[in-house]
């Protein structure tokens, strides 16, 4: 059930596009139905959780690293899941009216559902590594949503900043989770929670805590990582309402709750967490007052409230933790409604600037009433939900276990009251500045009430504010109790949720906050001037951007230091280091000849001489490029001959074919390049390079010699003996390729395909003018396709294809196989291109080579997957003997199908590259 629950949003994200395109359904309807069905399912299966049950689903994923696909639904997860899905449904409805027709496309809803699924997975994960996966996914989805209006630079910058900060925090959190998992010995949350004080007493605890808090602080916008959140307000308002008030920024808070039993309760926890929370609370509240942008005010107030919750968790007391969870609920409800109200105001009046927005009550009394109730809840006015949790907060700051002795135990209640004063002041500003305070100034539009259904989500949330505020015990208590119990992992202390606790200190603090806030707001004009005069404005955004910038600069500097863009220097350093390393490790070694060397015969001498001479000639004549190519051909041919001589016919054939293809390739490229390379190295450098080359050559010779004289017991004897019984073929080379090491071959073929696609992508559409005369100034010959050549190559094609088929079919038992057969076909077809020209050849060979490569890889992979169907590991092969008339008894191996995939991929790649290079030439008739 939990799997179904978590997968519903993801399925929805996949469905939005096809449903919109094919079925012509509005994307908001699809998204809304998905979110609603998930919510209903959650309420249904979550019922036993209220009485303390914990639902678990588990499946192994990669047990070797402790990663399992397991989910858990307990009180805390239930609370967050309800927030995510409940507010999610409302946001979908709201976005339907908020976004323009163009924006509200499937893209938006797909991102929103993706985020919803990531968030749901995060709060329901039982496995810590799985949780990290979802954690990163929320960062990514948030990036996509913030940058949704990708044509504006604020959106792009805000998205990048958010990703940079939360992504970096995710990295720290991953480290914390890994260490924690190592200490506990399991990544399952149940085990971690059951480990008691194990982590807190470990000597790595401080490190874990710091890393953990970086993760939490970045996600939940805690000081000093808070700066990304205001910039994330570039997102469309439904996104801000959803991600940046109700859900994603609460992910860090969620973790504080989740790991509360494991990490909390130490002095370090208290100082770090409550310190972070306290500074965030004050800073956010202070800055919120000075924002002129409606959403900016809400963003900083969100930061401040998140700080409040963090502070409550930091206190480490059971009651503080209950208050924290209570405030999570309350804040999500009133802040989401406020964001939606701000969105309505923006939508209907065309601006969010509070200096222009005044007196809107006349124009939209309904919306104004809703927003005022929600803002009052934010200020902590009695009879609303914000009051209750704020009261608990004030109460908790008075009884601090760690500070009772200290001289400055008055600091926390004091700071709490100050933050309360500011909260009242900015809430007042939201109400008074926008809805009263004279007439609007230069509004782009005349404001009016929004469409009926746009207000419904706000109404629902505001009703919740009042419902919780007036009847807390009926509405929220069961949910709160089950969540708090899940956090504490022990019986809850008594706590009372009521509006009237008698005339006590928290009430006095509330009253002071109310009064102080009103006074502060009335003095706002003076305050704004004072604030503007503060000479330094710390911009976290600039700081982060310059950090990124300097990282790039550092990278470029290192790059400049190391990279001289000279191929010769690369190879010089590479060779020098290899020679040095080899010399160090081989110094003083002797190689006793334990095995006799094969006697030297005349063919080997001749072949070796030609090989050496060809290599040297290539190097000497490298400036005359055509000559160098010819010399290189000798080397290739001689290598093939030597392979054949030393009984490696498969290698010989491959080498021959690759040699031919390479000559064609080099010539194709050379046409566009200068034919002569000017001599460019001084004599000293030449001498230096030659010396290094000779030393390296001697080194390789020594190494080869030492290998040859060692009695080597390699794995080859195993392959030789197992080839027939295990793989059903007598050609060991081919059996290794398609069977024993089939997985390697699959990888290689895939790489081949990727390379081909890369080349196509690089030269696609590229046209280059070729030289008009050759390098000696002679005109080119007039005959493009000499008749003799065309005729011969046409004659050759059927023979070549027969040879190819022959090599392919017998490959399992005799030299040949899919790779060689593919090369034969590829070269034979390339020959047609050379002889008859691209246009004609393309007419005759009309298939898409790219698809050929893809088909080959798919067939090879499919063969591998096929063995799963029969319950064997990936790429297990099988074979059988079949007897047919005429042909006689022969053997069919499933590996042959795999080989067919290899064949197709090779043919496709050869043609893609060679024919692609051949099409580069810009000719007059095509211009």
């Amino acid at each position: 059930m939990l799997y179904l629950l978590v997968s519903i949003p993801f399925i929805g994200a996949l469905l939005v596009y096809p449903a919109t395109e094919r079925l012509r359904l509005p994307p908001s309807l699809v998204a809304g139905l998905m979110a609603l069905s998930a919510l209903v399912l959650l309420l249904f299966i979550g019922f036993p959780v209220y009485s303390g049950a914990v639902l678990l689903s588990r499946a192994e994923w990669i047990p070797q690293i402790g990663l399992s696909f397991s989910f858990r639904l307990d009180g805390l997860g239930l609370l967050f899941a309800e927030l995510i899905l409940g507010i999610g449904v409302l946001v979908v409805l709201y976005a339907r009216y908020y976004l323009t027709e163009l924006e509200a496309g499937p893209r938006f809803y797909a991102f929103l559902l993706l985020f919803m699924g990531a968030m749901l997975g995060l709060v329901l994960s039982e496995n810590l590594l799985l949780m990290m996966v979802f954690w990163e996914l929320t960062s990514l989805a948030s990036f996509l949503l913030i940058g949704f209006r990708r044509h504006t630079s604020e959106a792009r910058q805000g998205a990048r900043l958010a990703l940079f900060v939360t992504g970096g925090g995710g990295f720290a959190l991953l480290a914390a989770v890994l260490i924690m998992g190592q200490i506990v010995g399991s990544y399952e949350l149940s085990d971690v929670l059951a480990s008691g004080r194990l982590v807190a007493d470990h000597h790595l605890y401080p490190l874990v805590l710091v890393l953990f808090l970086i993760g939490v602080g970045t996600k939940s916008a805690q000081f000093p990582f808070h700066f990304w959140l205001p910039h994330a307000m570039a997102a469309p308002t439904p996104v801000s309402a959803y991600l940046h008030s109700a859900t994603m920024v609460k992910a860090g808070i969620f973790l504080l709750g989740r790991f509360f039993p494991v990490l909390a309760g130490s002095e370090l926890w208290f100082y770090m967490v409550s310190g972070m929370g306290l500074s965030t609370l004050l800073l956010g509240a202070y800055l919120a007052l000075f924002q002129h942008d409606l959403k900016g005010l809400l963003a900083y107030s969100t930061i401040s409230h998140l700080g409040l919750i963090t502070l409550l968790f930091g206190l480490g007391t059971p009651l503080g933790e209950i208050a924290a969870i209570f405030h999570v609920i309350n804040h999500a409800v009133f802040k989401a409604s406020l964001f939606m109200a701000a969105g309505i105001i923006d939508h209907e009046s065309g601006t969010r600037d509070m200096r222009k927005l005044n007196g809107l009550f006349k124009y939209m009394p309904h919306t104004a009433a809703l927003a005022m109730v929600a803002a009052a809840a934010m200020a902590g006015v009695p009879l609303l939900n914000g009051f209750l949790s704020k009261e608990m907060f004030f109460g908790e700051t008075l009884v601090l276990k760690w500070l009772v002795e200290a001289q400055w135990h008055w600091l926390f209640p004091m700071a709490a009251t100050v933050a309360g004063i500011f909260a009242v002041a900015y809430s007042l500003r939201f109400i008074h500045d926008v809805f009263f305070n004279g007439e609007p100034v230069n509004l782009p539009k005349t404001p009016h009430e929004p469409p009926r259904w746009m207000k419904v989500p706000v109404e629902v949330l505001v009703v919740l504010c009042i419902g919780v505020g007036v009847f807390p015990n009926f509405t929220v208590r069961p949910l709160l109790e089950s969540a708090a119990a899940a956090v504490l992992q022990q019986p809850l202390p008594e706590f009372s949720l009521s509006i009237w606790h008698g005339f006590n200190t928290p009430l006095v603090m509330s009253l002071v906050a109310m009064g102080g806030g009103a006074i502060l707001y009335s003095g706002r004009k003076w305050l704004f001037r004072a604030h503007d005069r503060i000479p330094f404005q710390i911009s976290g955004k600039q700081w982060a951007e310059s950090l990124v910038e300097s990282i790039f600069q550092l990278g470029e500097m290192v790059d400049r230091l190391l990279d001289s863009r000279s191929l010769r220097r690369y190879s010089f350093f590479l060779l020098a280091i290899v020679v040095a390393a080899g010399a160090v490790s081989l110094w003083g070694e002797s190689f006793p000849a334990a095995k006799a060397l094969t006697p030297v015969t005349i063919p080997v001498v001749i072949g070796g001489l030609l090989l050496g001479a060809g290599s040297i000639a290539t190097a000497v004549w490298h400036g005359k490029r055509l000559l160098a190519v010819i010399m290189l051909s000798i080397v290739g041919l001689m290598t093939a001959l030597l392979f054949a001589y030393f009984s490696a016919p498969d290698l010989a054939m491959t080498q021959l074919l690759v040699e031919i293809a390479s000559v064609i390739l080099v010539l194709l490229a050379m046409y566009f390049l200068p034919q002569l390379t000017p001599p460019e190295s001084s004599r000293i450098r030449l001498a230096r390079d030659i010396t290094l080359g000779v030393i390296a050559g001697i080194g390789v010779a020594i190494l080869s010699y030492s290998m040859l004289v060692q009695p080597l017991d390699s794995i080859s004897s195993y392959y030789l003996s197992q080839s027939k019984p295990g793989g059903g073929g007598t050609n060991v080379v081919n059996v290794i390729l398609v069977d024993f090491r089939g997985f390697d071959t699959l990888g290689e073929v895939t790489v081949l395909g990727i390379a081909a696609v890369g080349i196509v992508a690089m030269i696609g559409g590229l046209k280059i003018w070729g030289p008009e005369k050759d390098w000696l100034g002679r005109s080119w010959a007039g005959d493009r396709h000499p008749v003799l050549l065309t005729t011969v190559s046409k004659l050759i094609l059927p023979f070549a294809l027969i040879v190819s088929a022959y090599l392919f079919l017998r490959g399992h038992n005799y030299p040949g196989g899919g790779f060689i057969a593919g090369l034969v076909t590829g070269v034979a077809l390339t020959l047609q291109y050379i002889a008859s020209g691209s246009d004609r050849a393309r007419q005759r060979l009309p298939w898409d080579n790219l698809k050929l490569v893809g088909a080959g890889i798919l067939i090879a992979t499919g063969t591998g997957l096929g063995s799963w169907v029969f319950g064997f590991p990936f790429l297990t092969t099988t074979f059988a003997y079949v007897t047919l008339p005429i042909v006689g008894k022969f053997e069919i191996a499933s590996a042959m199908l795999f080989d067919l995939g290899v064949y197709l991929a090779v043919v496709g790649t050869v043609l893609l590259i060679l024919a692609g290079m051949g099409g580069l030439h810009q000719r007059e008739e095509n211009v």
């Binding site: 001749i606 000559l627 000559v663 050759i796 020959l831 050379i834 290079m917």
Partner: protein, 89 residues
């Protein structure tokens, strides 16, 4: 008897290879070298066949077959390059 013939033939082919190489390295013209390379391919095919006959294995036939079939492709590509520059038009 056969082994003697094969030995003689191989020596002769070896000499042929060396002579090919001489033309290859000497030139003087690119055409000379390309022709020499072509001949080198043909001689190689012959050498492989002979060697296969000598040690009595048929595996080598395929390699010689490939040289016979495609040995001229390099030659042709090089010649086309000399003539037209652009080998796939």
């Amino acid at each position: 008897m056969l082994s003697v013939v094969i030995s003689i033939a191989m020596v002769l082919l070896g000499i042929a290879l060396l002579l090919n190489a001489w033309r290859l390295f000497r030139g003087p013209d690119a055409t000379d070298r390309i022709l020499a390379l072509d001949t080198l391919y043909i001689n190689s095919a012959a050498l492989i066949i002979l060697y296969g006959v000598d040690i009595g294995r048929a595996d080598f036939f395929a390699a010689a077959l490939l040289i016979a079939l495609f040995g001229f492709v390099s030659t042709m590509a090089l010649a086309k390059f000399l003539l037209r520059g652009d080998i796939i038009e």
